[in-house]
């Protein structure tokens, strides 16, 4: 058992580290200043271009499409090193290389690959995703946005519907879009995958106001949006397979792991009690935070185990879902506890109390963590089914035509 890179990984890391030391500083984001979205996105494009020039854009994508043909572990190592710098990274960079290009390179035509791959890898083309819908969350295939062929013989598609949770849709160039093209077949079978220019007439992107007060996500309304058949990825009806290419891709945290519980210990120590001590003297607080700290450390070493599997070329599969499941519920529990131990002051802190503000945001953000990227209940199902080999839920929608489902 060791925490060291393999010789290959070490060599790759050294090279990446040198390259980043030379190139990253020019692209650093300012600390403590929130840039306008547009500027952040512009800087993201520039950093993508630098990555491309340095040979670090699309590390795991095949060389045939312009990627680096590298391993997943190289991508992880690079992400670890890259995360040491505060760089303009976000959905506006990751969706293109992480979602759009894997689908295009696997399901697209040579023309489509030629058209989209290089500009995306260079940051000239940024992407958003248009998957989720109000009626299609955990059950993604339940989507209702529909596309029909134009009746003018052009072969174009006319798309109508509504998408949600499309991050940065207002600032990206193109979108990856999955829609229903045949409602008369069972729901997974009637879907088709497209790419769409976000400037196409009929696309209306509106920010969603969230409970945190922010509006990072959008709703995207599509009204008679005309999409040429040449922007269809894969065959008609192959949309679900395209989605799976995106969703089943291996994901692994970057491994960088700052302890949130350490901050809560400090917070407790900084909260006086009624007997001249502090909140950490209360055995209930002490034990809850100790157990949370122990779990947090366990998660860090669990991620090291997953990282080791990936490094060996194994796919951790649903095991990786355990991390988020544990993390999200712990975040809600511990941030909630921290607010409680601080007492009323946590509900309306003195201005400038950054610690309380951050814990409040954690408490709110924990609700998203328990839902997005696999809700608690979906992850438990996946762990039961894929790790423990238990049966799937009874499915009532399996062979029923979509238009006959309620």
């Amino acid at each position: 058992m060791d925490f060291n890179d393999t010789p290959e990984e070490a060599a790759f890391r050294a090279k990446a580290r040198d390259w980043l030391a030379a190139n990253a500083p020019a692209h650093l984001m300012p600390d403590g200043v929130r840039l306008p979205d547009t500027e952040e996105a512009e800087r993201g494009r520039a950093w993508m271009r630098a990555l491309y020039d340095g040979g670090y854009s699309g590390i795991t994508l095949p060389k045939s499409v312009g990627g680096q043909g590298g391993t997943v572990i190289e991508a992880v190592v690079f992400a670890e090193e890259e995360s040491k710098y505060h760089l303009p990274k976000g959905p506006f960079t990751s969706i293109g290389t992480g979602m759009a290009l894997p689908v295009i390179s696997k399901h697209g035509t040579p023309e489509q690959i030629a058209r989209f791959a290089e500009p995306t890898l260079k940051g000239e083309l940024t992407w958003c995703q248009l998957f989720s819908e109000p009626s299609a969350g955990s059950d993604l295939a339940n989507l209702r946005t529909k596309a029909v062929r134009a009746d003018d013989g052009s072969g174009d598609w006319i798309v109508n519907g509504q998408k949600v949770w499309s991050s940065w849709a207002h600032l990206t160039d193109w979108g990856i879009l999955v829609v229903r093209t045949d409602p008369t077949v069972p729901k997974h079978k009637g879907l088709t995958f497209f790419v769409v220019d976000m400037k196409t007439p009929g696309i209306d992107v509106r920010p969603i106001r969230q409970i945190s007060g922010a509006s990072d996500f959008n709703e995207t309304f599509l009204t008679d949006v005309r999409i040429p058949d040449s922007q269809r990825i894969g065959a008609v009806g192959e949309g679900w397979a395209c989605c799976m290419t995106v969703l089943m891709g291996e994901r692994l945290g970057s491994g960088s792991h700052k302890s949130a519980i350490a901050g809560l210990l400090d917070y407790a120590v900084a909260t006086p009690d009624m007997m001249g001590g502090n909140a950490l003297d209360n055995g209930a607080v002490r034990q809850s935070l100790a157990e949370a700290l122990a779990e947090e450390q366990a998660e860090k070493y669990f991620q090291a185990r997953l990282r080791t599997m990936v490094s060996r070329g194994e796919n951790p599969g649903a095991l990786a879902g355990m991390v988020k499941l544990a993390y999200a519920r712990r975040l809600q529990k511990t941030s909630g506890l921290a607010l409680e131990l601080r007492g009323m002051d946590a509900m309306a802190p003195a201005s400038g109390d950054a610690a309380t503000a951050e814990i409040q945001m954690d408490y709110i953000w924990s609700t998203v963590m328990r839902i997005a990227g696999g809700a608690d209940e979906v992850l438990r199902n996946q762990i039961a089914e894929r790790v423990l080999g238990m049966p799937g839920d009874v499915r009532m929608d399996k062979d029923v035509p979509f238009d006959q489902l309620r």
Binding site: D139, Q210, P272, D273, A284, L339, G343, A350, N381, M396
Partner: protein
């Protein structure tokens, strides 16, 4: 045995519920937040006009002379709709403090106008991070100096009952020695203020040793408010799950959702049972009130915590939007979890009520 609300109390609940269902649609809460409003003033006036605010105040003070259970019924209904009114600050805490510890003159001067809602009071105890009962602000004669923060509803209040050590003082807020600064409040429907007293004029309240009873009685009302709110979350989550289709059937047909909400329902019924008993104990001035209030508070915090969190979870992504209604409760819940003392505070009070448990010198709060 008739361990249930009386028919009159049920009518009172229904009356309050109908009024509030009509007057507090969720969109009105969104509008108040967007306006940065202090409160829903028209609703407050209406509650006053209908007698709800004076429910448990003496008849000679313009109240209805009802009891803690009756007040609890109203608190539960206000909790159910997340109403943006200073009921807890003005009625449950300030007016109750004056009733318990005030001089006859103080009672005569303030209670009738509090019962109508004309005068709003607030209760100032916390002094920054840490426990409810701040110890630094003290009274010198009739002069008070120091800072209480946060204080709920101080923006619309004319008077504050200020906890000074074991005693209470009455301070009019519209005087030169008092400054109020609005803080950013986690519960967007209940504003909080920092109150700075600088040689401000204060009237000591003569009733000594009433602080514990005040807190016990307030804990009972906080429990009722939480039970009403928790029940609203349960119903909202259930209704959404019944409507929402997933993988070809109602979300409500999945055991993960059924069992989650069943557990929430158990929590609500247990909390309601303790709230009933604590209300009864308050009305009977039973020696059991301290233990009953603490138990009610603890079960109500747990029930509302689970209900607010899991309601949002059942809603999924939509629950995270401002347009959905889960967040009102998700924020209010934390407030009710620390308002008038947190779980540790009340757990300790409950244990200290048990025979034999206070024998050792412990340090646990």
């Amino acid at each position: 045995m008739n361990f249930d609300l009386s028919d009159e109390q049920k009518m009172l609940a229904e009356q309050a519920r109908n009024l509030l269902a009509d007057r507090v649609p969720y969109d009105s809460l969104r509008a108040l937040i967007d306006a940065g409003a202090e409160w829903d003033e028209p609703l407050w006036r209406e509650l006053g006009a209908m007698g709800f605010l004076g429910a448990n105040l003496p008849e000679d003070a313009g109240g209805l002379g009802l009891g803690a259970l009756d007040l609890g019924v109203i608190a539960a209904e206000l909790g159910r709709v997340n109403a943006a009114v200073p009921f807890f600050s003005s009625i449950v805490l300030a007016a109750e403090a004056i009733r318990l510890a005030g001089s006859d003159e103080q009672k005569a001067r303030w209670l009738p106008r509090m019962a109508t809602g004309e005068v709003v009071g607030c209760f100032a105890s916390t002094e920054g991070p840490g426990p409810l009962l701040g110890s630094k602000v003290t009274l010198a004669g009739t002069t008070i100096t120091g800072t209480k923060t946060p204080v709920a509803d101080a923006g619309v209040a004319a008077i504050a009952v200020v906890q000074c050590g074991d005693g209470l003082a009455l301070v009019e807020l519209n005087q030169p020695g008092v400054t109020r600064k609005r803080l950013e409040s986690f519960d967007q429907l209940r504003p909080h203020y920092r109150l700075d007293f600088s040689d401000a004029v204060a009237e000591p309240m003569p009733g000594a040793g009433k602080l514990d009873e005040l807190l016990d009685r307030a804990a009972v009302q906080a429990a009722f408010e939480a039970v009403g709110a928790a029940e609203a979350c349960l119903t909202m989550g259930r209704d959404y799950a019944m409507e929402r289709q997933i993988f070809g059937r109602a979300l409500a047909s999945y055991q993960a959702i059924k069992h989650k909400l069943a557990d929430v329902a158990v929590g609500v019924e247990l909390a309601r049972s303790n709230a009933f008993y604590a209300g009864w104990a308050a009305d009977e001035s039973s020696g059991d009130l301290p233990a009953a209030a603490a138990a009610a508070r603890l079960t109500a915090i747990s029930a509302f915590e689970a209900a607010a969190r899991e309601n949002l979870q059942v809603h999924g992504g939509i629950g995270y939007t401002f347009e959905a209604n889960c967040h009102f409760y998700y924020r209010r819940e934390r407030l009710l979890a620390v308002n008038v003392g947190n779980r540790g505070f009340w757990a300790d009070r409950l244990i200290r009520q048990q025979p034999g448990s206070q024998s050792t010198s412990h340090k646990a709060a």
